[in-house]
Amino acid sequence: MKKFKYLLYIVLLTSATGCDKYLDVQPLESISDTQTIFDKSSAETAIRGVYSALSNSNYYGTTFQSIGYLSGDNIQWTGSQSQVQEFINKKVNAENATISGAWTAIYRTINRANNVIAKVPGVTDPLLTEALKNQIVGEAYFVRALAYFDLARTWGGVPLIVTPTSNPTQNRGIARSTTAQTYAQVLKDLETAEPLLPSTTDRFRATRKTVWALRSRYHLYQKEWAKAEEYAAKLLSDNTFQAVKPYSAFFANDARGTQESVFEIFYSANETNTHRGQWQPQTNGGTRQWAPNDALVALLNDATKGGNRSTLVAKDNQNRWYGNLYYRTPATDPTYVIRIAELYLIRAEVRAQQDKLADALTDLNVIRSRAGISPSTAASKDAVLLDIENERRLEFALEPHRWYDIVRTGRAAQVFNVTDPNRLVLPIPSGELLIDKALVQNPGY
């Protein structure tokens, strides 16, 4: 029996040695979240992570963008997923997977920005200059402003999260702010970002110029016409930005970062943009889940309306039209967040709103002339505004503007036949309401 005990001890002890160490296995693909941003290099990689979130397929990759154009009147759906048809019918359910995907992706972007905003200022690394530190934090503020802007225009007021999440109990149970408060957060972040950023031109990352461009759009949405005009002018007077000719020059032939671009999101063979898959026909390796509808095809191919913007659509081997803005192989198509054309059209619109019709037409006709169509000769304010609205429909035919434009101008009833004002904002995803009791659904859903 003694022998037995002795043996037992040997077996147990030899195996137990180093057990704690044995059970401590660390990953090689990830790092612990306890020490993340602590020097120049980690600060730089963290801000890239923020842009990466912006480029995610659920945000500016595909999903969020699709809300903007599917909800308009340019696109038809050919697939079997009814979540797409709900946008086209303008009867979006709270169960819709597109809205929950976008909502989640936007807040993930905000959390990444919050990490940079909270942690980078505290980094003490002699290699991390004050200028670089400011730039990184300024970029994070810009991205957060864009994220809240997108949330506000899609859902109205949302919970405002401005600190990073480090455990599951944080940043939940926070009630929605009002739409005004959410837009106020956008403005505040843009105002904070502006002085931190350099006044250089970078078409893939935020600079002071990118902030001005988004401010111009922000003031347009707020109907602060003069401010919108002021900020648009800052870019329109900058010769690093041009409405490149012809229209297709900003995207065709694998173009990237042209003078047209104020802010575009970068994709590469390793960081692909899956957007093309939804547009391209099967013979080009896509699914053509959604395609330009007959009305849009007719407009784009009308030489007096679409002009050379007809390059946005093409025909496949079964004579079906497809959208051709996102087409590259490998899938490196940029996402065009802000183009100089938008600033021309913003300034045209706000000038018209301020009854500066001739100036308005000057800006509008830059875009029309680039498209190869005759100048607008609209004579009344309403006519100019309508021409601008129609111009935007074609200029941004496959970009996410149409829905937001018609909603912000209050013309959804006339243009989309949407008479229920509750339908002008989308429902908060039902899954979010289930988990977070502090969230309240938009009325009518």
Partner: protein
């Protein structure tokens, strides 16, 4: 009595498998005895039976003819003890120098040796709930793996084959399911090695995945034991919650002449039926009807009779419905598949060595082109006695499994059944220029079949090296070192004829390597105290380390279709991944038997897992069990009618950690967030330092009884399992920036019973008829879940507190209004409109009961066996039909099923198929209950007729035995399900079961085979 028991135990457990090697004492009398041992009924000689002179260690083993020869050294008369596994031990009084001894096969198998955790036991001493299966009973069923063969054979084990593709994952559930996000698969142990049962497949085959269990050749398996209750599984504590399946492979016997076994079978398989589709004209008619109906509903659409899609070509239409052609694509995609299987093995042994060498080759075509499954395996098991006390041995399995794979499920591109089934029948495979084109967004079927090039090769080694030493007479030490290594190599090539390769071709390569290293020590002690007390103790430890690495490369843009390797692609990308988990365990089990009547045992296992929070790594899993052999009591001893009666009960806690990420408890940032070609970092997951083991408490009570000399026996078990701290990816509000985090947040219960009945119905004059029947019921319920979780296509599955796992969440169709032709759904909240709030749970995938029935009739050399399996009361969602009954709204984008012809057309029509209108508007709503069907079935799984050539004739052919057989599977299927196969399920995701989409059915097959023993 006690002495005899002890002797028997030792003889059967230890000596028999090792052979009797005891040295004969010097014969004092030069007397000899020769004889033959044979089966009482068949008179077949028994090879390897042991003969021992009572009171001595002098004995012998019968040779290949069942004969033995022995120097007795004894005066007549003396008593012989004759032992043979599976037969009653006999004591024979010897009066002559030659003798014929006949042994009676032990029908009730009380002395059957059952493999249990870290040892073996006689069935009569079992406390836990263990089912033993003889794999040879089902070995003729042509599927990829033994688990698929076992369907309906083991009570309480629900096995379903979600696809007719051989070698794909089979769903195995032992006594229900205990977890939402952790695995519900049982633990597989092959010769003491914990083997991986999670598919390494990375390429998409439309929701399904290959089964790693197919790497084990069923022909190499000697026995399969399924451990079900906590007493039986507790020694596997950490991974016992879903049951344990122990596989013992074949080994040789000491002192056995080499025996060669050869098996060959050949057969064919074919689908019993295929989907019934509308013809071209019917399709066109429905589309026109939909067009006009939607025009009436919404005049602004301007859809009228005049501009209907199928109007004369002269009017700009696609031609009248009756002018449409019908193209049969299903016939092109399905085939009569061939099946072949060959196994060759040699077993034998000397006094100190025994061996099993086996080779197998299995080749099966799926009934859906171009899918094939092909396995070549090689097995060597070797045991060597170093001396009387020390033995070493190895088990080795090498397998190469090759698969031609294809997407037989969901997903448009490369989807085989999308191209074959979901493409409208009226559309020609050619365009106007006579070029083959894909329709409806799917590939062209002909091009797909010609150019499909997706394959995988699994190289698998499962091996184990052990040494066993008898330290003291009652104390044995065993150390064992095991490896499960799997190299899984996949490649795809999509040339320019296929949608996925449309842009210059696409090639991918993925190489996964899984290795599991295992070390185990056990000390076993057993001793008898006095005449009535028997005590046993086992202590041990296990260290296991699993590593999974993966390298993936992809190339796009090839010069032409002759270049297929990534190195010649224009653009290439690649990724790599690495993951590891460690497990350390200590365990002990003590048992005590009093007077062969009362048995108790207690076990405890402590498991430490690297996956859990720093202070939560260790889990403790105790179990206690007891049994009362009532038949041994005096008051039953003389009751002839009852031949056995035993009561068993056990209670214990077992754990689960499988299926969660290896780093689930840690807070992590990923390096995979690059921008502009430069690296980026980002938050990945939140830490949960409190993450811990999922624990299942299980109570089991059982009764084993046999009457009429064991001719009728039954086993009844009731169990109650309750799982706490269920591992769950708990959803987080998106405002946190995270989707979820791992936590212990669910509670799930499973309660049920299992009944096994075995009977010998007739046994006279060479005719034997036996029946074996099992039936089980499991009631599953989610006891605690804070927020409901939705899974599957169209969120058809809802996991919600208070209902069973895998419940279907649908809009309940009450009727089709005979006046309007519109569906009437149940308005659950009575608000006058049908919204998502009106979705409700209607049934689940769980059957009310399930089981199997086997009948065996043997007459002389013929044997006929019929094996039925059944399931009653489960639901299945016919998702193919959902797509196929779109009422024309999907127009040219989707097939229409023939069942849609029964749609409502005019007031007064009574039907359950509504009038055609827009998809998801109302009548063809996603998640409608019309496609939720009863999945009950009764299936003749296998019918087998075999003929054993009489020994004398076989001898003339220089064979020991020769058997020929014919086997048929799925010869009939009784079901109300309108799809092809009520077991079909599109996805191997465990939370999305029971949705039938694009799945080839299990085929009907016929095989002939021959088995020769030399």
């Amino acid at each position: 009595m006690k002495k005899k028991f002890l002797l028997q135990l030792w003889v059967s457990i230890l000596l028999i498998p090792l052979g009797i090697a005891a040295q004969s004492p010097e014969a004092t009398i030069n007397a000899t005895l020769s004889g033959i041992v044979s089966d009482e009924k068949t008179r077949e000689p028994l090879i390897g039976a042991s003969i021992q002179i009572k009171g001595t260690t002098n004995g012998a083993i019968t040779n290949a003819d069942g004969k033995f020869y022995l120097k007795t050294g004894q005066k007549l008369p003396f008593t012989l003890i004759v032992n043979y596994i599976g037969y009653d031990t006999r004591e024979v009084l010897v009066n002559t120098n030659t003798i014929e001894i006949r042994l009676l096969a032990n029908a009730k198998q009380l002395s059957e040796i059952v493999v249990v955790g870290y040892g073996t036991q006689e069935r009569k001493n079992l406390i836990g709930s263990v089912s033993k299966v003889d794999p040879s009973e089902v070995s003729a069923i042509p599927v990829g793996s033994f688990d698929a063969q076992l369907q309906g054979k083991v009570s309480g084990v629900q096995i379903s084959s979600p696809t007719g593709v051989p070698g794909e994952t089979v769903n195995v559930r032992v006594r229900g399911a205990t977890s939402i996000n952790a695995d519900n698969d049982p633990l597989y142990v092959v010769d003491g090695v914990f083997v991986n049962s999670n598919s390494l497949q990375t390429i998409s085959t439309g929701g399904k995945s290959s089964s790693p269990i197919t790497d084990i050749n069923p022909s190499d398996i000697q026995s399969i034991e399924v451990l079900k209750d906590a007493e039986a599984t507790a020694l596997y504590g950490s991974r016992g919650a879903n049951g344990v399946i122990l596989i013992t492979t074949k080994r040789g016997n000491f002192d056995q002449a080499p025996k060669v076994n050869f098996n060959a079978s050949y057969g064919q398989a074919k689908a019993v039926k295929l989907w019934e589709l509308t013809t071209g004209p019917e399709h066109a008619q429905l589309v026109n009807e939909w067009w006009i109906n939607t025009g009436k509903d919404t005049p602004s659409l301007n859809r009228t009779e005049a501009n209907r899609p199928f109007r004369p070509v002269s009017e700009g239409g696609r031609g009248l419905p009756e002018e449409q052609q019908t193209y049969d694509r299903l016939g092109e995609a399905f085939r009569t598949a061939t099946l072949q299987n060959y196994d060759l093995s040699v077993t034998g042994g000397t006094k100190t060595t025994k061996y099993y060498i086996g080779g197998g080759y299995n080749d099966q075509e799926a009934i859906l082109k171009p899918i094939t499954f092909n396995r070549a395996s090689f097995k060597v098991n070797l045991d060597q006695k170093i001396n009387e006390r020390v033995q070493v041995g190895v088990s080795n399995t090498f397998t190469r499994t090759y698969r031609n794979q294809a997407r037989a499920g969901d997903g448009p591109q490369g989807g085989l059944l999308q191209a074959a089934l979901h493409t409208p029948t009226y559309l020609s495979p050619y365009n106007e220029q006579g070029v083959l084109v894909g329709r409806a967004g799917f590939d062209n079927l002909t091009l797909l079949l010609e150019n499909y090039d997706v394959n995988s090769t699994s190289l698998r080694y499962i091996g184990n090296l052990y040494a066993e030493a008898e330290l003291l007479s009652n104390l044995k030490l065993r150390t064992s070192w095991g490896v499960d290594y799997n190299n899984y190599n996949e490649s795809e090539y999509w040339n320019t004829f296929l949608l996925l390769g449309a842009q210059g071709g696409l090639a991918t390569s993925s190489i996964s390597q899984f290795s599991s290293l295992l070390n185990e020590q056990t000390l076993t002690y057993r001793k008898k105290f006095g005449t009535k007390h028997s005590f046993g103790l086992i202590v041990g430890n296990t260290l296991q380390s699993d590593v999974l690495t993966r390298t993936y490369a992809e190339g796009r843009g090839f010069a032409n279709n002759s270049f297929k390797i990534i190195s010649s692609a224009a653009t290439t990308t690649s990724t790599q991944s690495w993951s590891k988990s460690n497990l350390a365990s200590f365990f002990a089990k003590a048992d005590y038997v009093f007077n062969s009547k009362y048995l108790v045992d207690f076990s405890l296992r402590a498991d430490g897992s690297s996956r859990f929070g720093a202070d939560r790594k260790w889990g403790y899993f105790p179990a206690v069990g007891g049994a009362w052999r009532i038949k041994q009591e005096d008051f039953l001893k003389d009751v002839k009618f009852i031949s056995d009666l035993k009561l068993r009960a056990s209670y214990g806690i077992v754990g689960n950690q499988n299926g969660i990420g290896n780093f689930a408890a840690q807070g992590l940032w990923t390096g995979g967030a690059p921008y502009q070609g430069n690296p980026g970092i980002a938050p990945q997951q939140l830490a949960n330092p409190d993450l811990r083991w999922e624990k299942t408490n299980q109570f089991n009570i059982g009764i084993d009884a046999a009457v009429l000399e064991g001719k009728l026996s039954f086993e009844l078990n009731y169990y109650n399992k309750y799982t706490r701290d269920g591992l769950l990816q708990l959803a987080l509000p998106s405002t946190t920036g995270f989707a979820n985090y791992w936590s212990n947040a669910a509670e799930i219960s499973n309660k049920g019973f299992e009944l096994n009945i075995n009977s010998v119905n007739y046994d006279r004059g060479g005719l034997t008829w036996t029946t074996s029947f099992n039936i089980a019921r499991n009631v599953n319920n989610i006891e605690k879940l804070e927020n409901p979780l939705r899974y599957g296509s169209r969120e058809l599955i809802l996991q919600q507190q208070g209902t069973p796992l895998y419940s279907f969440w649908v809009y309940k169709q009450l009727s089709v209004d005979p006046q309007t032709g519109n569906v009437v759904y149940e308005d659950v909240n009575k608000d006058g409109q049908i919204t998502v709030a009106d979705r409700q749970i209607v049934g689940s995938i769980w059957p009310k009961f399930f089981g199997g029935l086997t009948n065996n009739v043997s007459y002389k050399n013929f044997e006929l066996s019929a094996f039925l399996s059944f399931q009653y009361g489960n639901k299945i969602y016919n998702h193919n039909k959902f797509f196929g009954e779109g009422g024309g709204a999907r127009d040219a984008a989707r097939i229409i099923f023939a069942s849609n012809n029964a749609r409502w057309q005019k007031p007064g029509d009574i039907t359950d198929v509504p009038r055609p209108d827009g998809v998801n508007v109302n009548n063809y709503r996603d998640g409608g209950s019309r496609w939720l069907e009863d999945g009950s079935f009764l299936r003749l799984r296998s019918l087998n007729l075999s003929y054993n050539l009489p020994k004398e004739i076989a001898r003339k052919l220089r064979a020991d035995g020769l058997k020929v057989y014919v086997n048929g599977t799925n010869l009939f299927l009784l079901t109300k399900y309108t799809g092809l196969d009520p077991e079909s399920s599109a996805s191997s995701e465990q939370n999305a079961q029971g949705i039938d989409l694009g799945t080839p059915p299990q085929p009907r097959s016929y095989q002939v085979g021959i088995s020769v023993t030399l």
